[in-house]
């Protein structure tokens, strides 16, 4: 069965392993993810100024293009999901804005496309039982913390994916694929990425912004990674390329500040799903080229055959 899919820019570049693993795992369950025609960047961050209608143009154009394929679109990057879902929510509840933006982009759209996260798709469409029956590799030895971050869950009124304070959907998906899911208290805490994208973390940059500001970023990540390590986890699984970058890149700095800090690989949940389903692990960028903390040793430990 074919279903519309919006990969997003990061998934075609830095997070290519995320993209490939989502497409391939969906195929195992009998779904062909078809790229939305003529897709562009979604805008990456949902614009909070009420009158900035221009920022709605890219996401609404993407949804209008997705409408050509059906009335639902799957996306998987937390940032894209957040932007598409909130833009959709905005025009569904504000007919004036909808009219203005469709007039500007010169396309028809009436808000009737559902934006679905791949986690949601795995839960509601594929089903945990189907995942379990397709498992080819045993991931029981892998102790994983599910990390949700901010964009996947908030604001709840607009997103409504899961409880914004105590989410479980990623826990359940990881559990269904056979991982040992490790509970920890910082699942939905900010990793600090909005500080890291606007802070120059090179040595010169650190000097310019001041050590205190630069450290603020790595401290956000430290709180999460330290709690994960204390809970006994081997790695972190998530769905946000920005969180992955931030949690990953911060670890060198954290190591310098916090004596005894144990580095931990960060991966996308779908990369683990691909391993569990017995797919070729070399295809999903689980290497030092795409990660600061190399996940390949952990991957090899569970994917011997």
């Amino acid at each position: 069965m074919e279903i519309a899919y919006f990969p997003g820019c990061t998934l075609r570049t830095k997070a290519i392993g995320f993209d490939n693993s989502v497409r391939d795992t969906a195929k195992v369950f009998g779904y062909d993810l078809v790229e939305v025609p003529d897709w562009t960047c979604c805008g990456a961050t949902f614009n909070l100024s009420v009158d900035n209608v221009m920022a709605l143009a890219p996401p609404i154009r993407i949804l209008a293009n997705a409408r050509k394929l059906g009335n639902e679109v799957i996306t998987v990057c937390s940032g894209c999901y957040n932007v598409l879902k909130r833009a959709n929510y905005t025009v569904r509840n504000d007919s004036e804005k909808l009219a203005k933006i469709t007039d500007f982009i010169e396309m028809e759209y009436d808000g009737d496309v559902e934006v679905i996260h791949y986690l949601e798709f795995l839960r509601d469409r594929v089903g945990y039982e189907t995942i379990k029956t397709n498992i080819k590799r045993n991931l029981e030895g892998l102790k994983v913390v599910p990390y949700y971050g901010c964009q996947l869950l908030r604001p709840y009124d607009e997103i409504q994916l899961d409880d914004p304070e105590a989410p479980t959907i990623l826990d359940e998906v990881l559990d269904a694929m056979g991982c040992t899911v490790v509970d920890f208290p910082h699942k939905a805490e900010c990793c600090g990425n909005f500080l890291s994208v606007c802070t120059d973390l090179t040595p010169e940059g650190r000097q310019a912004v001041g050590e205190e500001a630069a450290t603020a970023v790595s401290e956000c990540s430290f709180t999460i990674l330290d709690a994960a390590a204390r809970a006994g986890a081997d790695l972190v699984a998530l769905s946000c390329p920005l969180c992955l970058y931030n949690l990953d890149v911060a670890q060198d700095q954290i190591e310098k500040i916090h004596f005894g800090f144990r580095k931990m690989p960060i991966v996308y949940f779908s990369q683990l799903l691909a391993i569990a389903l017995g797919l070729d692990t070399d295809k999903y960028a689980l290497d030092s080229e795409h990660h600061f903390v190399d996940p390949s040793a952990v991957v090899r430990s569970v994917a011997k055959e």
Partner: protein
């Protein structure tokens, strides 16, 4: 506006009839239908059917810039215009578009576009190469204005979207027919220079990604080994007449081979 035109004609007409009344047999000379256009806000009457470029010349302009090949390929004569009663801004190449009545014309012969200097040898066909040389590419908000003003009807915003995700092949492909008229840059709220970003993409594609032409490499090798040296030397010594004779009696490529070449061309397209 039709009335005004008619009144002018009747004035001319009355003059002609005046002559006729003098007893001569003069027939009214065939009159060219005229249209009104506005060049930089000033009204001119020009014959219907002229291109914008010819109309400018008819109106007395001498085109030193903003005019090149006159055949729709060079992109020098980018024009922005609007017609009476319509808010839409439209674009055209002056050499390719016929004047309409009530056209307000603005020529864009040059646009002060930002152009990066780079050493292609030191770049890789990647997002990094684009962003290093044109960091403003990330200012694209995807308003699609560039697409709306492209006289070549290219998917400008789409190729910029491809650039923003490092898809150099798509950037090169979608921008292939760009004639670099500059109209996209003139309207871009993000101050991007789409056509320079695109030519960087095509250069990267051509140098690093396009399959190499095997036959060309083989021929270059043959030239370097001196396979054709003797032949060239003989040609250099020939008289003009002998050269002409030789040219006229040359082997013309058999049709079969030509057909083959065309088919290969199609596949490459």
């Amino acid at each position: 506006m039709a009335e005004k035109k008619a009144s002018k004609r009747s004035k001319k007409g009355s003059k002609a009839s005046g002559q006729a009344s003098l007893g001569s047999t003069a027939v009214a000379e065939p009159r060219t239908e005229m249209v009104r256009i506005y060049i930089m806000g000033k009204q001119y009457e020009v014959p219907k059917g002229l291109t914008i470029q010819k109309a400018l010349e008819y109106a007395g302009m001498r085109l030193l810039r903003g005019c090149g090949c006159r055949g729709g390929f060079c992109g020098a004569c980018g024009t922005v215009y609007r017609t009476e009663g319509d808010y839409k801004l439209k674009v055209a190449l002056a050499c390719q578009t016929v004047v309409e009545d009530g056209m307000y014309l603005t020529q864009i012969p040059f646009y002060p576009a930002n152009k990066a200097t780079y050493d292609l040898e030191k770049l890789t066909p990647s997002l990094e190469a684009i962003v290093e040389n044109y960091p403003e590419v990330m200012r694209c908000v995807q308003c699609n204005t560039c697409r709306k003003v492209c006289p070549q009807d290219l998917e400008v915003m789409q190729y910029i979207a491809a650039a923003m995700r490092g898809d150099i092949a798509r950037l090169a492909d979608l921008s292939f027919d760009c004639i670099m008229c500059g109209l996209c840059a003139s309207r871009c709220p993000g101050e991007l220079v789409q056509y320079y970003i695109a030519i960087l993409g095509r250069r990267l594609y051509g140098k690093y990604m396009m399959p190499k032409a095997k036959h060309l490499a083989e021929r270059l090798e043959e030239i370097e080994q001196g396979k054709f040296d003797q032949e060239i030397e003989e040609l250099m010594k020939m008289s003009k007449e002998d050269l002409k004779r030789l040219y006229d009696s040359r082997d013309i490529e058999p049709e079969e081979e030509l057909g083959e070449a065309l088919r290969v061309g199609e596949i490459n397209d």
